[in-house]
Assembly symmetry: C2
Homo-oligomer: 376 residues x 2
């Protein structure tokens, strides 16, 4: 499924084949929380901005419209009309960050829905069942995502439980994939490395889950409060313990600079709500740095958001028009900003892949790692 | 400019040629108040839903971003990237309906901006200057839109002023079109018939403005409080006084039933915010009547909004998905509903034109006039 095409230092150029198509890596997944990208983007828009993988949130879809309904509608691909790969998270992150009054036991977590307050129980088996109902291409294991900084003893104990949960996830996914009426019998399952910021816990946990021979490996529990240098350190610390022949996914990361640093440390796959969220607030990625479209200097600026960008927005609309739309609270303003920023991320990954192919990654990295994260 | 191709009773099949392209009539204009259709529709979407004419609001664009800025950006066509005809209203309707503390004099109207409260003066010359700055294909004369019911004496006095204003509009537009740096030197100007619900005032006013040989004639001051039968009566009362060789535009109308009735009485052009506004609330036009997408019976309905519709939304998405998006407050839900409803209106006009071409208008009218306005 994952094929390593080339190493450039620790950086990896590869491809990941699924029943819904092949993903060229490194890649960035575009987040469609409730089965749609926030900002009124359609699946046609997603194709136009060259999205390879859509990511949807199990917790949100379980609460609304309900995974049973998505299953009845033929699964997430048919429901949303997205034909390429979809990754669903496990629900764990939202359970631990959004839900109120949660209670963790060995079996799983009891919590109250953030929509209607109703009590929900979710453990490894429930998460697998929901994701099987959604029929995503890639399911994520149900884990506990611990906020940083965390106590060593709690981190250790949580890690051990996450391993036990992973074994249950794997068994349940195998069972579900063998059922006649399962929507996607080839559903893949990724394990998630945890261990907070403790190298020994991270490495120990990585070794444990490596032995379970998962379809891919994620690094979770980063970008949740620790300095970015600590995040980079953790990635480097576990890199040699991650299987070379499996795809590696750093969850919830990040800025263009974060992505460049992480690719350079051996990560293949990313997701983050940041580009779309920033876009909705008018903070726009360009190849010269981040601009704020609300700035009055753009009031009569006829140039595109980024003259170096060939996205559908930059080919068509001016900064002046987009700024006007944002000021007039026209939804089209948000949509255009989101389309541009997600295209920028997808295009960044293309350029990273090209630079790996052409042995120019180091210079591409040096030229962009700071610049792209700078507000101008 | 207007060519009458065929009469079927009072109904007219025609075409209207402008510097920005030819409009097949009867036609419905899609309302882009501040230079964008509400609901995140792009100009590409507008093409996809077969919009012929975009309508923008002079008052809104004058207040924000400012018509001087639009002028600097090369006019509304370049600013919005819409290449086909654009009609701008005069600002009068918004001045009389939205603005606070307005004061009408012979010269024009002083009022406070609804955005920042700043005092604005607008009279015929100002409205023409603003519309010239916007560079629309068709400008509307500055008139007073009186709410129904109105006192006869006030209606008569207002009508006389609207005629005097029209003469000033015409002179000012001729002057502006002759200037070297005018964006659209071929800008057209439509006169607006007023007279509330009084036949004699309506007819008298129509005769007066007919003599001014305008580029087109609008019927204003209807659909502002009077019963629809009264509206139909007024249209029929003035029909014979409207020039046969000029396009006729009924402002702010209406439901599919209203449009069918008005086409049958000799109207060529329509605009209304209703289809887009209804769409944003989940009230959707279909060829069987109006559905409410929030209805729980659509929760697991895999069929398109309207199986008789071939719009980009109905070709792609299910009722269940769109209902989910609306419930999850995903902007995409609104966008898809707006796209469908506007397509429905544009498609309704196509079918009306086809039925006029094929001499089946009467049966098309009878089959649809009540059904399309019925909630099902």
């Amino acid at each position: 499924m994952y094929r390593l095409i080339k190493n450039v230092g620790y950086a990896r150029r590869g491809e990941f084949t699924t029943v819904h198509g092949t993903v060229q890596t490194p890649a960035f997944m575009n987040v469609a929380t409730a089965g749609a990208i926030k900002g009124a983007l359609s699946t046609k828009d997603l194709e136009d901005i060259r999205c390879q993988v859509m990511l949807s949130n199990t917790y949100h879809l379980h609460v609304r419209p309900g995974d049973e309904i998505v299953r009845q509608m033929g699964g997430l691909h048919r429901f949303t009309n997205w034909k390429r790969p979809i990754l669903t998270d496990s629900g764990g992150f939202q359970v631990f960050s959004l839900a109120k009054l949660r209670k963790i036991k060995e079996e799983g977590v009891t919590f109250n829905s953030h929509v209607d307050g109703r009590k929900i129980f979710m453990g490894p088996e429930q998460s697998m069942q929901i994701q099987s109902n959604l029929g995503s291409t890639i399911a994520m294991a149900f884990d506990e995502c611990v906020e940083n900084p965390a106590e060593y003893s709690y981190a250790k104990q949580s890690c051990a439980r996450t391993t036990r949960w992973l074994k249950r996830c794997k068994a349940e996914m195998q069972r579900l994939n063998s059922l006649d009426d399962t929507i996607n019998k080839d559903q893949l399952l990724f394990g998630i490395n945890q261990g907070c910021t403790y190298d020994d816990l991270r490495i120990e946990h990585m070794k444990e889950i490596r032995d379970l021979d998962m379809d891919g490996y994620s690094i979770g529990g980063l970008a949740v409060g620790e300095p970015k240098e600590v995040m980079y350190h953790v990635i480097s610390a576990i890199e040699e313990y991650m299987p070379k022949d499996k795809i590696r996914y750093l969850m919830g990361v990040g800025t263009p600079g974060n992505i460049l640093e992480s690719v350079r440390r051996g990560v293949d796959l990313f997701d983050c709500v940041m580009p779309a969220r920033n876009a909705r607030h008018g903070h726009i990625n360009t190849w010269d740095g981040i601009i704020n479209i609300w700035n009055s200097k753009y009031e009569t600026d006829p140039s595109p958001i980024d003259s170096k960008c060939d996205c559908p927005v930059c080919r068509t609309y001016s900064r002046a028009y987009i700024r006007h739309l944002m000021k007039a609270k026209e939804m089209l303003g948000m949509r255009l900003c989101v389309m541009h920023n997600l295209y920028f991320y997808n295009n960044l990954m293309e350029k990273i892949r090209d630079s790996l192919d052409n042995d120019t990654f180091e210079s591409f990295y040096r030229e962009n790692v700071d610049k792209l994260d700078t507000r101008i």
